[in-house]
Amino acid sequence: MKKNMSPKKCAVLTLCILFLFSFQLAAQSLTLESVCKSLASHPNTTGDFTQIKTLQTNGRKLTSTGKFIFSQEGILWQTEKPFPSSLILTKEAMVQVAANGKKSVMNGKDNQIFANISDTLSSVFSGNVDALKKNFECELVQEADNSWKILLTPKDSTIASVMKSMVLAGAGADLSSLEMSEASENTIRYEFKNQKYPEELSADEKQNFVIE
């Protein structure tokens, strides 16, 4: 009759199996598709952002903070401090809300500029790998700590004349930062914090995407 395994041995064996399993997981190389798939796994992402604009000409930095929503309905970029403003991007329109609350709406149906911007930004935040590859040359860099960076270079010469490149950084299914290098050598860095992944947006949050 076989002797029963002691609890200690059992625990060690379990740990070994877990170690081996995790080692195997770590050894698996990330692909652009897998990163995008995990990014796209959240139907909605909300959180806070810090935006730092660095001006190359005088080295000054303009820092602002606010909230963001990436969702199926669209993207909300709500700057709160130091001066409030909002940018709302849906499939149909782009709305900018100025400090005094004045809205300017760019309708997408008959505006090709909007369609281009919408297509490009949506491809970045939606995790749609095909859309991303259509608009950018993509390069994935895998870091040792299971984090990743995606370097995006715009294919469209018109967009490239404004934006040189974009670097998305994150770990697992979290997007932690985005840095945009402009053709003028200025940079805009966004850091994302307090991300949440609600299955559904609240009624107030949804209201942001109702374009009147």
Binding site: N58, L62, T79, F83, Q96, Q112, S161, A183
Partner: protein, 810 residues
Amino acid sequence: MKNKTLLLNKNFLPAWIIYHAAVLVFFVITLIAFPGKVGIDSDLFNLVPKSISMASVKKADDKMMAVTSQNIFILVANEDFKEAKRVAEKVYGQLEGSKNFETVSLYSDVGAMSEITDFLYENRWNLLDEKTADDILSSPDAASDFAMNALAQAYSGFTMLPLDNLESDPFLITEYNLHNYLGAVQNAGTAMSVKDGVLASQFDGKWYVMIRGILSVSGAKLASKNNAITEIYAACDSVNNDGTSDGTTFVFSGTPFHSHESSNSASREISIIATVSMLVVIVLLIFIFRSVKPLLFSVGAILLSVGAAFIATLAVFHKMHVITLVFGTSLIGSCIDYSLHFFTHWAGNQKFNSGKEIKNHILSGLLMAIISTGICFAILLFAPFAILKQMSLFCLTGLISSFLTTVAIYPYIKLPAERGNVRFTVGFAKVVSVLEQKWVGRTVISALFIISVLLIAVFHKNVKVKNDLLTLYNMEGRLLEDEITASKVIQYTPGGWYIVSGDSEEDVLQNEEALRHDFEKITEGAVGYVSTTNFVPSIQMQKKSQAAYEKLLSMAEAQFESLGYSSDESAMLSEKMRKDFSDSKDAYVSIEAGNVPDFITSAISSAWLGKIDGKYYSVVLPTKVTEYTTYRSLVENNDNAFFISKSQDISADLDKLTVMVLKFFVVAYILMFIMLKFFYSWKQAFKIISVPFLIILVVVAVFATCKINLEFFSVTGLILVFGLGLDYIIYMMENEKKKNEAAASTDSTSVLEPFATLVSFVTTIISFGALALSSFKPVHLIGLSIFIGLATAYVSSFFYGRAAHKEGEK
């Protein structure tokens, strides 16, 4: 005819030589005096009369048309943008540098953006829009709002421009002006926007990449083989056929494509009409006269008359429209009349022993015929419309040539050995004897009158003088589909424009700004437009912008501090801003000062007309015309602005011209009656002159029944019928008179003259019947009214002639 003996023994040969030599010499002199200016015109726009009601702005309008009518767009379509762009680049590569184009452009130079932003930055205090400047100046909070929005923009996630100039432009006025500029560009033009360096738009699952072009003078010569449109089609075909283009299609848009199509159709129609007419004439002549001589001489006379008409028209007008040629081919029918009258006697009338005797016999009829036809054609020379004048001169010159050939050359043709050998004359004589019954003639003519009057009474609501330019040219097939697609993709369908005038650049710009203000009010900003002041405001407006800027300047220090600068830095930067403004505040953007950059000059190329005859003109071109009446009413009491809508204006002008042509008709009617009274008795003159009246009744009745408006071109056709139709009754009357004068009224030769008239009627009706089959509505309408009118003229002449004969017998 009372005075015919005066001309009977006259030798017309010197007249024939002098006439043709004069036409030739005139043409040669024209060629020498106007080298390179003589040729064929196939521009579709020239088919219709120019707007005659606005002479003061006509030149400005012509300049505008000269620019816009030579614009072409090629849309290269594919589901894949890259493929559409690749094919567009190939087509562009083939067209670029061609002498057929003033410009061809595909790429929207992204490098131009820095040029634009530099200009907007350097002139930032001059270019604030009127509403913003007014708000800043009038409301105490508006300036603060503007400054606050600039701060929010600077800290927001999205600015169109880098913040490199923050220290000299803390209110982000350059960014604000760029928004306005791009809005104006978007508003002014098409739904196309820059994508990957080219203008593109996505519609219905396809990408459309746009190639734009302006035809050069040589490229716009659509009658030539190697014109711009042919080159475009060839370039697109070669790309399609090289096997590398996968599912790519082309959409062509612009007036030159339609002009090219109409020019080609016209050429095809000329060939068909001329060939059919000539074939019918050839077959008839050979068959009837059993000899090739009448054929050879008739064809020679036709060629000579068409040639004389052609060079005379070119010599007078320098440019002859291709439609004149189409219409001019009907000369074949008219010219052959004279030949037929001669050769019928030449082959069949044994009473005459020489060509001279035949000439003397037919001279009075021919003379009356050419005078009546000539009067009608000559009257059209006074119409204020070049195409009509051309048609008139063409036919007039051709007819005179043909008449002179008949009376000057034909008498020298040796008579055939066997005579009295004309086919169909026996059969024709039998028909004539049956129809000679007085009651037959009276019944037919009465029936024509009564039925026509009844039809007019029943369908009187359809009797209207109304022209609609848009129905004159029927777009069809590929071109129609292309225009529909292009209008959906480009979303640019201008149907009219405002021409704004002023005594100086500043004056016209101020007038334009006032008009824009009113226009935006009535359209509630829903309709975009191209205008000069969107890009180059008046100096008055620039001063207002500067005043608003000065108000913002007073808030500069606080603005800098909000952007994170220290108090000292803010004070120093604000001081520098004030100095920069003070140094440049007297420099304004002005076209005459020459400081407008090329990209703006290009953007306003169709809007700024500049100085014309001492006045300045610009154009405000709405991207679409939603309500003509409203648009027109906007400038009703404005002496400095005129609304022009080609289709509407030309239709209205055609209505006026139609009424004018109808008045010509009355004049021709009176002149004709005077002439007839000179040669005939009162009764005969009344009889002859009643024929045109019947013609009008029948034509109006048929048109009313078929719900066809009495349009300019059909009424013009009536005038021609008037001239041509009278020939028949004149020939008949002359013949019957001769028969009555002659003792042997039963002579078999008496049927020859009516027979010649019948053959000439058949040839003429075939020529004009062919015109009625034309795809060009104007030509079709002229052909149709002439066809109906001539048939009526012949039928009534036939029976009038018979009745006269019978009366004479009694």
